[in-house]
């Protein structure tokens, strides 16, 4: 009998490519796409696109959203719009005055949800609802440059900043963490965005990679490349 497992929106992609799968908190995720050494090389010399849809994602939206976010990270309520705070295991992104997106390790979302109280804000566990892609590598900015119709250069979007925009006309939350974190505003677009990024990235050495290539870190700092 088929077991109920959680799968990324890109599961079909990985099946077709015979990627190596690992289980993380009931999620079937990709460890590598067949050649882990080539993926590491691309990370150093080109760019990689990693699916990490499994990470915990909690949306807080409403009048007391800032108070709720403060429960998770001291000082989050004072964040300016389009800024983020966090560490290796938790990041709080302020998307709007009344809206936050919380990112956390896959297995810890219930722990964080338990710390939130439904006041005048809607709190939603969106872990499975939002696709999440990680764009890393020395040439990652060149992929973004070909994909975003707004200025996402380091000058316009500093490390630790977040912006809601479109990539290839697909609505996304773009977080400049240690790499580019791309959170689709609905998981159903993930395959389209993935295809578009891989297509424009061909010229700048973009390869599909698994989680083994990039340690999952939410910290706003450092550089995987």
């Amino acid at each position: 009998m088929t077991a109920l497992v959680r799968r990324s929106p890109l599961a079909a992609h990985y099946r077709a490519r015979k990627a190596a799968i690992e289980k993380i908190d009931d999620w079937e995720m990709v460890r590598h796409c067949g050649d882990p050494e080539a993926e590491r090389r691309a990370l150093a010399e080109g760019s990689v696109l990693v699916d990490w849809s499994h990470i915990g994602k909690i949306q807080i939206r409403g009048r007391d959203a800032a108070e709720q976010a403060e429960r998770l990270w001291s000082g989050a309520a004072d964040l300016a719009r389009s800024n983020a705070v966090g560490d290796d295991s938790l990041a709080v992104l302020r998307l709007a005055p009344d809206e936050f997106l919380v990112l956390c390790e896959a297995g810890r979302r219930f722990e964080h949800l338990a710390r939130l109280e439904e006041g005048s804000s809607a709190i939603c566990d969106c872990s499975g609802a939002l696709g999440a892609l990680l764009l890393a590598g020395t040439r990652r900015d060149e992929v973004i440059e070909r994909s975003a119709a707004m200025d996402l250069s380091a000058r316009a979007l500093a490390l630790g900043s977040v912006v809601q925009t479109t990539l290839h006309t697909i609505p996304c939350t773009v977080y400049r963490a240690s790499d580019w974190d791309l959170y689709l505003q609905a998981r159903d677009y993930t395959e389209s965005l993935y295809d578009a990024l891989m297509d424009v990235g061909r010229g700048v050495g973009l390869v599909a990679a698994g989680l083994a290539c990039v340690p999952a870190s939410l910290r706003a700092g450092g550089d995987h490349a």
Binding site: L4, A129, D188
Partner: protein
């Protein structure tokens, strides 16, 4: 044809050594090239003077401006037609072919046009060969072939080319990298701006790279006294070393649009640039002079001659005449002399000697200077042999043998990027050039595009403009020294002859202009459209000034009133491939979490907005019967799903929806509609009270996003204390339905699913293998149904699980088309299909969802009006007789030939065995049992019978309540 030796040295210019870097093929001939060569310069060095045949008359044409403007050097390179040979860098092995000539460039049969076309009436293609009607289509093909450009390679050789879109967001975008552009870039960077500098050539510097004039009065004192080429070198180095300046070379800007949006092409890349300030420093090209046979190969602009010498080390002739009216012509003559070319004469239109730096130097070289005269005609067949010169207002005085004429009679600003459909250029009587006045905010002009000037003033103007652009200030006033303004010669200095070309791209002569004006086309816009003047490859860059001034002379108005038409994009040629980009980026696709399961099951898909949904897996008729007789399953993940809670949840629902929900018990579900402020019904769905004070609203796929945004808008503006969760992407959903659904449900859910414990229109939370699901006893099919909503990430495995579990019950996946058949049997409406932008809920038969005895709600006022007005049309269900053809959706209903309604949905019911449908009809024809005439698309009619309710199948609803 004699190969030209590359110049090893020049007394005024630093020439570098040029070893041969490779070879390419030119019409099958092996041509060597040196580093930095364009195709045109390499071919020119190989001794070729004729590059192409002209558009209409097939006259021989050679290099004219060498700066990538003129159509004279159009060639086909590796199958790509209409490339400018003076823009494309030579590279090994490329195959360059000349075009628009047959059988060869040297002997072109179509050159007969040069003799025949002048015998035909002006613009004959609008006047002749249109009767009989069949003649023109045949002739048009021939004419187009004869007056064509290159041929597109249809073999697909270029199909794999990758077109990219790239974005830039500088503070200041500088277009053109001559002295003013370079200075503007440096100034903008110094003012703290991030700068993007775009140059269409592969090297920076503009015309200054072959300018030997000493720099004076430059703001950067270190440059004073240097020859301009050395000074511009220093500017280039400073720009290249500046980390705040990004340089794009080999990049053509083809449009500057609203709000400083700049579009540029480099190879297969399209750059989309949004800048706070845009500085157009596009420069100027040599003024076009109109005289008899002014298109002969061997006639070049002064700057073309200088570029060939200074950049490519080529002496472009052996015996030259320089035609001028300012010191720049003497500069050209001096460079020619230094290159070993015999300068037969400098023909200066001015009566008096000027004070320029080079006039004396040329005289010192013993070169003959002819004053007060200019060129009147050129002679030669395939290339120039001699010129006739004479006074501006008199007859020819003498002929001079030569194989090269350099035209250096001032400059025409390149205004295209400043005009761009916004502004019409105006004549600046002081500078004697056309300029674009009143630039929009953030758009600046600097350098020779404002009129000619020497190096120092150009740098000054560039610097001031760069600072202003970086700081968002108005453009500096700019100024020209009176002595640097160049008098404009009359636009046509030729006294006779029929081959005085104004627009060389389209082969438009002065004679044609005169004839067209005589026919009434005396406005520049109509004249342009009739003659195609300025509509060729260069888009008027060369001829706009001459065309406007000549038209003004020949037209009815005053000569001073002449002005060219507005320039419109594209300023530079751009390929359609670059504009289009690649397909994957155009339309994104939304896929449900179970999409791949449907693919593997062999579903055919239909587009529902951006969604791809299974249409059917086998056939709608087959799948519908499976649902009616057994068990079916459909993916309904695309439904909108909203959850409302909070203190004001109920008041908010009462405001947003026309119904009342205070008595909706926890665990119960109710059908609802949504009404716009205009009283029109635009949506229906269900609302479930899932926990005390928590409501779950489902809505149709197409309206999901709009409804969510609408809810947010009203929450924000009306201040309701409501928590709204968008569960659309959070939850996937399926509907399992059919008479065997309960036995299946018993196996998979952990709750009592008996009719008593879980009746129709009820809601429960339940679990499947430990995964919590929202479970609704609702359906769209008219059968016993369970709608299961579960976390989207389980989508695939849940579908696989249900299919596996359901196998014993004969579970059959069915698609959207099948669902449409099933719902039509039940008469359920589809908003947007069975309703339109005027539909009242009362007329649509869903008036029972409106409770207008409550306080204000959206659309209440209009609904009251509708009630008062009464019902005009009704949405009715009808049935056809077995064997009747099935009408298409949208066909009309007739009564004695008069249209009385229309069909909105029409299908064959597999379970009933006849056609059924929904239709709008005038209310007095809506009584049950009325016969209605339905007109088929083939003109026949079929008669239907109006049903008592909307449901043709199980009208009592026993099956879904079972």
């Amino acid at each position: 044809m004699r190969t030209r030796e590359r110049l090893a040295r020049h007394p005024d210019l630093p020439l570098r050594e040029r070893p041969v870097a490779g070879h390419f093929s030119f019409d099958g001939r092996r041509v060597p090239f040196c580093e930095g060569d364009t195709v045109a310069s390499a071919v020119c060095a190989s001794g070729v003077s004729v590059f192409s045949r002209s558009f209409k008359y097939h006259r021989p044409r050679g290099i004219y401006d060498a700066h990538g403007f003129g159509a004279e050097v159009l060639v086909t390179i590796d199958g790509a037609p209409n490339l400018l040979a003076d823009r494309v860098l030579a590279s090994p092995g490329i195959d360059v072919r000349t075009q628009n000539a047959w059988p060869s460039l040297r002997f072109d049969v179509m050159a007969v046009n040069d003799k025949v076309v002048p015998l035909l009436p002006n613009a004959f293609y609008y006047k002749m060969f249109h009767k009989p009607k069949w003649l023109w289509p045949l002739l048009e093909k021939r004419l187009r072939a004869a007056a064509g450009l290159g041929r597109i390679d249809a073999s697909g050789r270029d199909a794999g080319r990758r077109y990219e879109k790239r974005y830039r967001f500088p503070d200041v975008c500088v277009i053109g990298a001559g002295p003013s552009g370079l200075s503007a870039a440096l100034a903008a960077a110094a003012a703290g701006g991030q700068v993007l500098l775009i140059e269409r050539f592969d090297a920076l510097g503009g015309h200054a790279v072959h300018d030997v004039a000493k720099v004076r009065e430059c703001r950067d004192a270190s440059l004073n006294g240097l020859p301009s080429h050395a000074a511009v070198d220093q500017l280039i180095r400073a720009v290249e070393a500046n980390p705040d300046i990004e340089i794009l070379t080999g990049t053509s800007v083809f449009g500057v649009y609203e709000d400083n949006y700049v579009a540029a092409e480099r190879g297969a890349d399209l750059f989309k640039i949004r800048a706070h300030g845009v500085i157009v420093a596009s420069g100027a090209s040599d003024r076009h002079l109109v005289f008899e046979n002014n298109d002969l190969p061997g006639i070049m602009t002064g700057r073309a001659v200088e570029r060939l010498i200074g950049v490519h080390g080529i002496a472009p002739g052996e015996r030259a005449v320089v035609v001028t009216n300012h010191d720049g012509g003497y500069h050209t003559a001096k460079l020619l002399a230094g290159a070993g070319v015999e300068v037969a004469a400098v023909v200066d239109a001015r009566e008096e000697a000027g004070a320029g730096e080079f006039e004396g130097a040329v005289a010192g070289l013993g070169i003959r200077i002819v004053r007060g005269q200019t060129i009147r005609a050129a002679r030669g067949r395939r290339r120039l042999r001699s010129v006739k010169i004479g006074a501006l207002d008199g007859a020819v005085s003498e002929a001079i043998g030569c194989d090269l004429v350099a035209i250096a009679v001032g400059f025409t600003p390149q205004l295209g990027l400043l005009s761009m459909g916004r502004s019409r250029p105006r004549w600046d009587a002081e500078r004697e050039v056309f300029r674009v006045p009143d630039l929009p905010r953030g758009l600046y002009a600097a350098g020779e595009v404002n009129g000619a000037a020497s190096f120092g003033p150009l740098c000054q103007e560039g610097w001031e403009t760069g600072e202003a652009a970086a700081r968002g200030l108005p453009a500096p006033p700019g100024a020209r020294r009176p002595e640097e303004n160049i008098r404009a010669l009359p636009p046509d200095v030729g006294c006779d002859g029929s081959k005085r070309f104004i627009c060389k791209c389209m082969d438009v002569t002065r004679k044609e202009i005169q004839a067209s004006i005589a026919e009434g086309f005396d406005q520049i816009e109509t004249l342009k459209r009739l003659t195609s003047m300025g509509m060729g490859r260069c888009q008027g860059k060369t001829c706009y000034e001459a065309g406007a001034r000549v038209a003004a002379i020949d037209g009815p108005g005053e000569a001073e009133e002449g002005a060219p038409a507005k320039f419109r994009p594209p300023f530079a040629p751009v390929s359609l491939g670059v504009l289009a980009g690649r397909a994957p980026h155009l339309v994104p696709v939304r896929r449900t979490p179970m999409h791949d399961c449907h693919v593997r099951a062999g579903a055919s898909f239909l587009a529902a907005g951006l969604w791809k949904r299974p249409e059917t897996y086998t056939s709608a008729q087959e799948e519908a019967m499976a649902v009616r007789e057994g068990l079916g399953i459909i993916d309904v993940s695309t439904l909108g799903k909203l959850e409302l809670s909070g203190p004001d949840a109920l008041p908010f629902l009462h405001f947003m929806l026309p119904g009342k929900f205070a008595k909706l018990a926890v665990g119960r579900v109710r059908y609802h509609t949504m009404i716009g402020e205009d009283g029109v019904v635009y949506e229906d769905g269900t609302i479930a009270h899932i926990e005390p004070g928590r409501y779950f609203i489902s809505c149709t796929t197409g309206n999901a996003d709009a409804i969510r945004n609408n809810f947010w808008w009203w929450i924000t503006t009306e201040g309701y204390d409501v928590r709204l969760r968008n569960l659309g992407p959070v939850l996937a959903a399926v509907n399992v339905t059919g008479p065997r659904a309960r036995e299946f449900a018993r196996e998979i859910f952990d709750i009592d699913v008996s009719n008593e414990a879980f009746p129709y229109m009820a809601f429960r939370f339940a679990h499947i293998e430990g995964v919590r699901v929202h479970l609704f006893r609702i359906g769209f099919t008219g059968e016993l149904a369970y709608e299961i909503h579960f976390p989207a990430e389980y989508g695939e495995s849940m579908w696989e699980y249900l299919m596996e579990k359901g196998r014993a019950h004969g579970i059959t996946p069915f698609g959207v088309e099948t669902q449409r058949v099933l719902r039509l049997e039940k008469g359920h409406i589809l908003p947007g299909v069975d309703t339109d932008a005027l539909t009242s809920p009362y007329e649509a038969g869903v008036g029972f969802t409106v409770k207008d005895d409550k306080a204000d709600f959206l659309g209440k006022a209009f609904l009251a009006q509708q009630r008062e007005r009464g019902i005009r049309d009704r949405l009715i269900a009808y049935r056809l007789a077995p064997g009747d053809p099935i009408p298409n959706d949208g066909v009309v209903l007739l009564d004695a030939g008069r249209v009385i309604g229309r069909v909105t949905s029409s299908r064959r019911s597999p379970v009933l065995g006849h056609g059924i449908g929904l239709a709008w009809v005038e209310k007095d024809r809506a009584e049950p049992g009325t016969a209605i005439e339905i007109r088929l698309v083939d003109g026949r009619s079929v008669w239907g019978t109006v049903l008592a309710g909307h449901a043709a199948y199980d009208p009592e609803g026993e099956r879904l309540r079972s």
